[in-house]
Symmetry: C2
Subunit: 344 residues, 2 copies
């Protein structure tokens, strides 16, 4: 892979160059065992967006290992997390396999198959040490790197760090794990948190949720160390709140995805505001909201749609707390990142 | 409204000019009665795409007429027919109101509120007579004009026509009604069918399903009389079948919308073809199919996505019969329009 001056880091021999021949362990034997044990005739397979393309090959492998009368069904629904199970397919199959995310809630019906990255995190961890101040540090990562979490802790401790880790709340399966909507694992007694993982999606949420902490990003996929900078996001949040302060008609979105529903919050807003309308949908997209002639929207579903995709919508979209600020129920300086807790 | 040379007809005093001040009868009293009778606390409202914008005002009117403790919820899901009920919202509300389509299946839970057009069909009917050959004519229309169907029959009979009408199958509520996917009401003993309604969506389907009949379109909304011409569509169908003849890997789409599922057809293809993969989804969109590395797709869901939106997909998309032609199980000249029968 060639390297140019605009890249974030040296991508040779790292995650980016491994991307196309990366091998995942789909735990076929475990799936086949469950299929046989339950005498299943219909098996649903759900992959996250980035791995959907692998689905047919996994189905082929499973077909070769199972009886001919077992039908494998691939979910074509968008999937952005364990919060986003294809419940239609789940209810209509005997075994439902969800790949790539750790369990948000255990269930007899669902087999969760985590997919662990084979990228070596230690070279970039080594590089990230230059950004750490003092020896107290929090450590968090995503589901893809959980298999190395203990090793990373040990590695840091061997180098003299006092590593703070925590298991978040019910929404999280593992100590040190973060989700796009939940950073409870970083509620630790240290002023800096080291995030190990690919991309900026998680560390930006982490930094918004913990604005008092320095968030050092050790990204083994893009082979780069950076400091999370939420300024652009925060400016957008304040701008959206300000724009929405003049809104008369509010669309209050209740997301119907199994792990993204906060009906109590939505119903409370409707009960308090005669100019608020409850709108239900699974995918929250600009096209769907354009159908409604509202001045602003409150999204009680996935907070990352609000913060990350907000500018793509034709009208300001706020989190529930931002709504309370916009209508004057809370002061502007109370603004916090919207997080999701619990399961469903 | 100004009129230019490119318009299809004279739009003054017709549907197009009425569009913005068109009044619909939402049958509020009937809804309120049902809400009170069932002591409902949650009421779901679902509108077709073109009328979603009216939803909040209808909710306002209903709120004014009902107790304060009744919560109205607007479906934000796309809706393209009575086949496309928001089952999530339906299951979670005490009363579920579906506007704008006639019932595909009666249910205690659902109140169907038809929305009848207030456009006068007779001026354009008068104009359409010049296109009729002989006095035997079939008559069909859509749900929006069903309230004038008897009047239209009488009007034609008064002018000496022998009007053939028929109620289709279970999928259709009314005599003379057509759906985008079902033209059984035109299985009549006449060589020409008069279609009264807006746009070309329905008459093109009608002409594809009945290639032996002349389909005269009397469009009171656009104030124009035309003859349905399926040539462009048919060329696209043959081109797609030809392109798909080389396909090795097939994605077989099962649509999870309540009235669009044909699982037996999908499972049969999977059983017969080792290189076919069953993919389930509700909305069938180019983005969703791009996630799968297939050579061609068979859509067992809504046939109009295949015929009308086909060219928007990155790979050829066929109807089930077109698939059988592409793999050599049927001859090319057997090609017929894909229709949907039954309810769910």
């Amino acid at each position: 892979m060639s390297q140019d001056a605009t890249s974030e880091g040296d991508l040779r021999n790292t995650g980016m160059s491994l991307r196309h021949d990366r091998e995942w362990d789909y735990e076929l034997e475990r799936i086949v065992e469950e299929v046989e044990e339950r005498d299943a005739s219909r098996v649903g397979l759900q992959f996250p967006e980035g791995l959907k393309r692998r689905g047919p090959a996994v189905a082929d492998d499973l077909r070769a290992l199972c009886d001919d009368d077992v039908t494998f069904m691939l979910s074509g629904q968008p999937c952005y997390g364990a919060c986003d199970l294809d419940t239609y397919l789940m209810r209509r199959t005997d075994v439902f396999v969800h790949f790539g995310h750790s369990p948000m809630k255990e269930s007899d019906k669902i087999i969760y198959v985590p997919l662990f990255s084979n990228v070596d995190p230690f070279p970039i961890l080594e590089e990230s040490l230059a950004e750490l101040e003092g020896d107290e540090v929090g450590l968090v990562t995503t589901a893809q790197h959980m298999n190395r979490f203990e090793d990373m802790c040990d590695w840091l401790e061997e180098r003299g760090y006092d590593v703070h880790t925590r298991r978040g709340d019910d929404r999280l399966s593992h100590e040190g794990q973060v989700l796009g909507c939940n950073y409870a694992s970083a509620d630790i007694d240290a002023d800096q948190v080291l995030y190990v993982g690919g991309g900026k999606f998680h560390p930006l949420g982490l930094a918004m949720e913990h604005p008092d902490k320095k968030v050092v990003i050790a990204d083994p996929v893009n082979n780069v160390v950076t400091i999370a900078d939420t300024e652009k996001f925060m400016k957008q949040r304040y701008a959206s709140v300000h724009k929405a302060m003049d809104a008369e008609k509010w669309g209050v979105i209740f997301c119907t995805k199994i792990g993204q529903g906060r009906m109590e919050i939505a119903e409370q807003i409707i009960a308090d505001n005669d100019d608020a309308y409850l709108i239900t949908m699974d995918e929250v997209t600009p096209d769907r909201l354009r159908n409604f002639d509202m001045d602003a929207f409150v999204n009680t579903g996935c907070p990352r749609i609000t913060t990350d995709d907000g500018p793509r919508f034709h009208k300001p979209m706020l989190t529930p707390q931002e709504y309370r600020i916009a209508v004057g129920d809370e002061p502007l300086d109370a603004l916090e990142f919207d997080t999701f807790h619990g399961t469903w």
